[in-house]
Amino acid sequence: MASTLSDGELVARCRSGDQQAWADLVERFSRYVYAISVQAFRLSEADAEDVFQEVFARAYEHLDGLRDDAAVRPWLGQLTRRLCIDRLRSAARERPAGEEELERAGSDETMTMLEEALTVHEALAETPEHCREILDRFFARDESYRTIGDALELPAGTIASRISRCLARLRELLEGRTETGRPSSSR
């Protein structure tokens, strides 16, 4: 079950030594950190794993220095971005073509899209479990109707309509957040 604490509350609990809060924080931002390294910067799996572990190791070490607990999301985004650039820079020194990759990597457009995606995933975490599960399985995990049907014990014929209903519900939720001016980084 995903934590319902705001980012700031989660960071405050991590700082007080709450191990479950740390596990929840890693869970909350793991996809974002992973996506920045493999989609925005197109790192290899091996480099992406190093960056992933280093981001969380540094975050764990430096959580005390974070000035605003609620700003953990952009902080992690920037940290990941910087470590990806370091990684590409050291590769660029070894092979000339790497410089071009570095210039193309990590465009603002992709970073903005990933931030929006994180906001959508945060909203998804607030939907009922059956919606969360089916949308995540179908879109993010790329599972087939058959696999989903087997896992959730649903007839394949009902999956498409459930996905459609759940997407509509998610859209309502996000539109509601926008109307109330709710910040995307606090739950």
Binding site: Q39, E49, F52, A57, L135, F139, A140, A168, L174
Partner: protein, 84 residues
């Protein structure tokens, strides 16, 4: 966030696939690695030969001395040694 149609929503959900489970578990285990970490750092400060072995080949030195070189432990030690 820009206007949302369902196709765009689907693309945004798709944009964040799960990170490999083992990576997530390793990062979640950082607090557990902490006790071991403090022991290793204290020993490295007191024992120059151990510290030299750690700097030369971190994973091999940990394994040789009976510590499991989990990704979490290795990464946090690298960060520690870099910042000294």
């Amino acid at each position: 966030m820009t206007a949302l149609d369902e196709e765009r929503l689907a693309r945004l959900i798709r944009a964040l696939p799960p990170a490999p489970e083992a990576w997530v578990r390793a990062a979640q285990a950082l607090p557990l690695a902490r006790v071991e970490l403090d022991q290793i750092v204290a020993r490295a400060e007191a024992d120059a030969e151990f510290r030299a072995r750690l700097v030369a080949d971190l994973e091999a030195a940990l394994a040789a001395d009976g510590y499991e070189p989990t990704p979490a432990l290795v990464h946090i030690l690298r960060v520690r040694f870099k910042s000294k």
